[in-house]
């Protein structure tokens, strides 16, 4: 069964350092999402792509976060500089279209010291 791949699974970094997360969605899925999930809370949408275009990044802290999906396939989420409050699980998800079932990856757990 096809899966959404994410790496790294775990990342520990010191504040002010740069961090990058990678996501490879299920083949053929045009819509890709990055969510942030703080322990005990629901996932919060950071950015949504349709193919290579950003359709929603209203909750992305653009002073330190950036996301790209250059060829409309895999995607990278970057944080620079990381802050203590960025410690969370970063979940990538994909769907065939913007209104259907989301398939999530295992997530990348970030700890900022």
């Amino acid at each position: 069964e096809a899966e959404v791949a994410q790496s790294p699974r775990y990342k520990i970094t010191e504040k002010s350092q740069a961090v990058a997360f990678w996501c490879d969605p299920i083949s053929g899925h045009a819509t890709l999402y990055w969510y942030r999930q703080i322990l005990g809370q629901g996932p919060e949408l950071l950015v949504q792509f349709q193919d290579e275009s950003v359709v929603d990044d209203s909750q992305l802290p653009k002073d330190r976060f950036s996301a790209e999906r250059l060829k409309g396939v895999d995607s990278t989420l970057k944080i620079q500089p990381a802050e203590l409050g960025d410690s969370a699980m970063y979940l990538c998800a994909s769907s065939t279209r913007g209104t259907g079932e989301l398939f999530f990856g295992e997530g990348s757990r970030l700890t900022v010291l």
Partner: protein, 110 residues
Amino acid sequence: GQQVMQIPQYQHVQEGEDFTTYCNSSTTLSNIQWYKQRPGGHPVFLIQLVKSGEVKKQKRLTFQFGEAKKNSSLHITATQTTDVGTYFCAALGTASKLTFGTGTRLQVTL
């Protein structure tokens, strides 16, 4: 922005008891989805509801979408230990943005 609240935040039941979680939105929704997240895992899709007043069943799980398309519920009959996890509703609003609810954590003991 759109807010999606779930109640209760946490419920602890004995195996065999029923469980219900409620999801409420501040705005009318295009559709609502439900996900289950096991401890340490990632959200897994359960179902999508689209029509006003829609009711769908999956074995012991019953999902309802309110008549005004602003609320939804998930009911589990005769819970089992395998039902442990956090249940999230996710509301599809304007611009195809999917907003997750606050979640209900279910604990089931023997």
